[in-house]
Symmetry: C2
């Protein structure tokens, strides 16, 4: 037929877009809505094109998850570089990365959906497990106090709450919460 418009070739861009669409679908309509047809449809890329970049659905999900982990790492490292105090630095970085989630610009917001994919697909849990273990070993010297652990757990809780839209807290209360958490990392 070749009625089709053959797009300009831009593999990296297309690949990126496919991941974003998958994340958006997951966040807006749930995991069951993330199908190859839906992703290819919503991104304007043919199913063949999609399967060219990601040979299987599993590979798509894993790639999505990995890209989200990379963003998390980047966010943490950025926060850590701006932090002069070694003690509790990783925990504060982790906290900031979790907090930043809410203020993410539209379009990039979907990266929160790590959790979603994570929880839903057991195959990805070990990836997360590995990530946690690596970090906790790396920062055992500066971030192994009880209070630091609490802060990181609370950060997870905030992350979850922002993700779910629960805990509608006003700004001043949130700020007070954050201040207290940071204080706890310094004890």
């Amino acid at each position: 037929m070749s009625t089709a418009h053959h797009r300009k070739k831009q593999p990296l861009f297309v690949r990126q877009q496919l991941l974003e669409v998958a994340a958006r679908l997951a966040s807006e309509k749930g995991m069951t809505a993330v199908t190859l047809d839906a992703v290819s449809g919503a991104s304007g890329v043919s199913k063949g094109g999609l399967l060219h970049h990601f040979p299987s659905k599993n590979m798509l999900l894993e790639a999505l998850f990995d890209s989200l982990l990379e963003r998390l790492d980047a966010a943490i490292e950025k926060a850590m570089r701006a932090d002069p105090l070694p003690h509790g630095r990783f925990t504060r970085g982790y906290l900031h990365a979790c907090l930043a989630l809410r203020d993410q610009p539209e379009g990039t917001k979907d990266w929160a959906q790590v959790t979603m994919v994570l929880l839903t697909e057991p195959q990805l849990r070990q990836r997360w497990h590995a990530w946690v273990r690596e970090r906790s070993e790396e920062y055992i010297g500066t971030d192994s106090s009880v209070d630091a652990a609490i802060v990181r757990l609370a950060a997870d809780g905030i992350w979850l709450a922002d993700l779910l839209g629960s805990h509608d807290m006003d700004e001043s209360a949130r700020q007070k919460l954050i201040n207290r958490l940071i204080e706890l990392t310094q004890l």
Copy 2:
């Protein structure tokens, strides 16, 4: 044909079992594995029977979620009754309910998968949202300190970690963490 053995009628039991199977499937194989066929197959109930109890898949998921919320409420209330100190009582109850998750006997363990279903299916988020709001209004007098909020968030984090199997922490560390959290509710 009627080759089929027609089971004794026990609607409540069957209904309960269907929910348990759905929860187990979700936890073991992910949300995408929760299909009507799979649930009916694994529970020994025909698809027709399944759809008799739950007129649609959505209704099945909602019923599952509601039953899990009920268990959460029950666990919290039980813990609260055993707690003499009013201040921070709800927060400690919530904490205990989240902690108890890990020590659940096999078979009942699946109820942790609230999160899973929750996160995956956006339709259920508002249910959770409503639950949170109700509680936070009800216990505004005794559980509205910053530290209490932190403890509840950390409880969510623990819940999540137990659910995912991350944070492999030894018993004494865990106990120390819990003690500190309880202390925070009393400030």
